[in-house]
Amino acid sequence: MGGTPGPGGDAPGRGGRDCPHCGASTALDPDGYCQECGMLAGRPRDHTEADGEPVAAAVSDRGRRHHRNEDAMWLAVGADAADVVVCDGVSSSFDPDVASEVAARTAGELLARAQHPVRPARPAADEPTGELARPQPAQAGPQQAGPRPGTASPQQARPQPAQAGPQPTGPQPAQAEPEPSPTPPEPVGPGTQRAEAGPHPAEEGTEAIADPDAPTEPLEPARSEPAEPALPVAEVVAMAIQGAGAAVAALAGTGDPRRAVSNPACTIVAAAVRGPHVGFGWVGDSRAYWVAGSGPAEQLTEDDSWARHVIALGVDPRVAMNDPKAHAITAWLGADAGRITPRIGAFTARVPGHLVLCSDGLWNYLTDPADFGDAVRSALRIATGPRPLLEAARALVAYANSAGGADNITVAILPVPPPSPAEAGGDAEPSDNEPSEA
């Protein structure tokens, strides 16, 4: 099933009745074990796909060495907007797969319900030109100007008629989870209540998320030149991550008593895309990258990890990454994590590119930013079918598996800015998003 672009989460082996291990025909128990050899044919989470074409796609996979997928993801796409979350369970904790699933779902639902201060820019209905919906900057994109995606001004990035346009359609979950959550958790952000009322001028929206507890320590690029109006998007992301942190922390008091001893824990990286504006945040070592039409990928996040810490202290990165402690994370979501202070970043894209979120199951095989950029572009280039983003995400997962698949792998790919409805209706060629390649 993995090769068939189908809607919803795929679970190879589960649908079939033959055992993939011993080949016995019609031998699978209802609980997924082979009635002959006893091997587990597959779990629903072993391989899941989220198809949000043409706005985004994501794939999560068990990998080759782990017995289950402890990564989880959330993807919601709307008109010119997307929310995405990638979480990686901390394997030394108890029930890490539950932690990641709860974190991804909670953060995703909070993102979906929050009123984002930046509305997806959208031309008015009577302005049927797709040209206006997409920025066409000819100049070098932020990635070529060094690690300063935030330097692009909103005026340059997007046309302004959007302010007069109709209210955007909120993002809708797009098969991001194998089982859509029936009961969304209570919103924890103070801005959420107000967000449900009336029209939202950008100023009010900004105020609405002015949570005194919200961490507002964006990354260097965003701080040096505040990427208004993308920064408020990141603050919503921070709020969603805090909500996810609270939900994961609450798990320690539920279910198996061993959860209290070794509480469920996970990492998180989340992003909200509104037109060209991107806000992101993270805790742990799951990453976000910006991949432009050429050049090395830009790592937007900075791992909360032992390796990152000692590299900052001057240790040779290769030595640090080969240390057994390299992947030990220094921040996570969980009951023992204390107060969650997600780090956030924001930028407004001046040229089209791709936002890529992934767990360490992928980036561990692509530690060189140049390799990462090439791998993503190569995956996009060969994806020429009807679902190019999904195919590209699958190709990146396949790459990690062919390199060893030592960990669970989750990849989400989002073109920024997202294709407008005019383009979405037509053929969404990957080259649309890569003008410099065209």
Binding site: G38, L40, H66
Partner: protein, 421 residues
């Protein structure tokens, strides 16, 4: 009757590992309103051989049997067998079963008063008679009490043959009075008949012992419960042992039941909980593979009451594969404790004090570590425990025979481990 089965294990195995261990706890809430789902039949077998005349044992046995009869619930079928060189039915008429009522209980008491000691000990014949009486009541909860004070006088091998024939047809609790009987002989019967064995050193304690056994038997609400164990192809069940409330190896009682599955008899059940240790050898899997090593079901006839899974997951992460499951470790220790005591007693009887000291030392250590106080106290009557933590013991010069027999019969009694890991 609602049952619950839960497996406790560390499912993570190191690469190449093939032995899967799990403790399965089976508990039952008992019948609806505590009522039996089946009828019940109770047979009391009292040794009436000549030796029972000594030390007022016959009078005590009569009193115990009377007390036992008084504990039988109305409506329960019952009979009393007098154990002499042949089996003689004391009550009711030969080949019959009485239905318990105030009248039948009074008749039984009068019959018991006529019981006189004479003749020999023929346990095989007694059990055969009981089995024939029980045959009239298929589907009943069947329980027998066997009281004796001496060795079996039947020809060598006869008792074993009878046990093979009647095993699984009823549950039999065995009690020895005095110290002239053999623990190993009664244990053989109790093990085959899924019952318990114990010493009643003083005749005056018999009444309480009988009352306790009958009360427990009257609390059973289901007759014939089995543990069904399915294992995958190329896997073998190394053992299935009851480990709580007492150690009992069920491995040899397996009866095949469908492809790659076997049934192990658990006897009758009431409102209670028991633990079983299941050990399966499986073909090793690759990294990340997960296998169902055993599907364990609690069954009664064709009805599956509860089920739990024993899994194996192979991992390269030694932090996972070296985790010790407390339940498995605890009951492995309790089984070793029973073995060490029985081997220690055997060595002492054979005059091998060196081996006996080593075995009792290990037993003292295990009993102490696991918090099995009752066994530790019994052990202290047979050896001087100098340091339980290191297992340093000294043989006592003079050991009361009853104390040693009590230690032997109690060796299989286990204590439960806390559930949190």
């Amino acid at each position: 009757m609602s049952y619950h089965a839960e497996a406790f294990q560390n499912e993570y195995l190191a690469m190449g590992a093939s032995e899967v261990n799990a403790i399965v706890t089976v508990s039952s809430s008992g019948g609806d309103g505590g009522g039996r789902t089946a009828g019940a039949t109770e047979i009391i077998i009292v040794d009436a051989s000549g030796s029972m005349q000594a030390e007022g044992r016959m009078a005590a046995a009569r009193q115990a049997a009377r007390a036992a009869v008084e504990c039988i619930d109305d409506g329960v079928r019952f009979a009393i067998v007098a154990g002499v060189s042949t089996a003689q039915q004391l009550f009711p008429d030969p080949g019959q079963l009485a239905v318990a009522s105030p009248q039948s209980r009074a008749d039984a008491v009068r019959a018991i008063d006529r019981l006189q000691a004479s003749g020999g000990t023929a346990m095989g014949a007694w059990l055969l008679l009981a089995a024939r009486l029980f045959e009239q009541r298929p589907g009943d909860i069947k329980h027998a009490i066997l009281l004796t004070d001496g060795d079996n006088g039947e020809r060598h091998g006869y008792l074993e043959g009878v046990l093979e024939q009647v095993a699984g047809r009823f549950v039999c609790d065995c009690r020895g009075v005095g110290t002239n009987w053999k623990v190993s002989e009664l244990r053989k019967i109790a093990t085959a008949m899924l019952g318990t064995v114990d010493i009643v050193a003083r005749p005056e304690d018999l009444t309480a012992a009988f009352q306790q056994m009958i009360t427990a038997a009257m609390g059973k609400t289901a007759a014939d419960v089995h543990l069904k164990v399915w294992t995958p192809v190329n896997a073998t069940v190394r053992f299935v042992k009851q480990v709580e409330p007492q150690v009992m190896d069920l491995t040899g009682k397996r009866a095949e039941d469908g492809p790659r599955a076997g049934r192990y008899p658990l006897g009758s059940w009431g409102r209670e909980s028991r633990d079983y240790h299941i050990c399966v050898d499986v073909p090793p899997g690759g990294a990340g593979d997960e296998m169902l090593a055993a599907r364990v079901s609690v069954v009664e006839g064709d009805t599956v009451h509860a089920q739990c899974l024993v899994r194996a997951v192979w991992t390269e992460d030694t932090a996972l594969s070296t985790r010790i499951n407390r339940q498995v470790a605890h009951y492995t220790g309790q089984a070793e404790l029973a073995e060490a005591i029985q081997e220690g007693i055997a060595a002492r009887e054979a005059g091998d004090d060196r081996t006996a000291t080593l075995k009792f030392g290990r037993a003292a250590q295990l009993a102490h570590q696991s918090g099995n106080r009752a066994t530790e106290e019994l052990l202290a009557k047979v050896v001087e425990i100098e340091d339980a933590a290191t297992g340093t013991v000294r043989m006592r010069r003079r050991v009361n025979a009853a104390d040693e027999m009590a230690l032997d019969t109690q060796s299989t009694k286990t204590v439960r481990v806390g559930r949190s890991q």
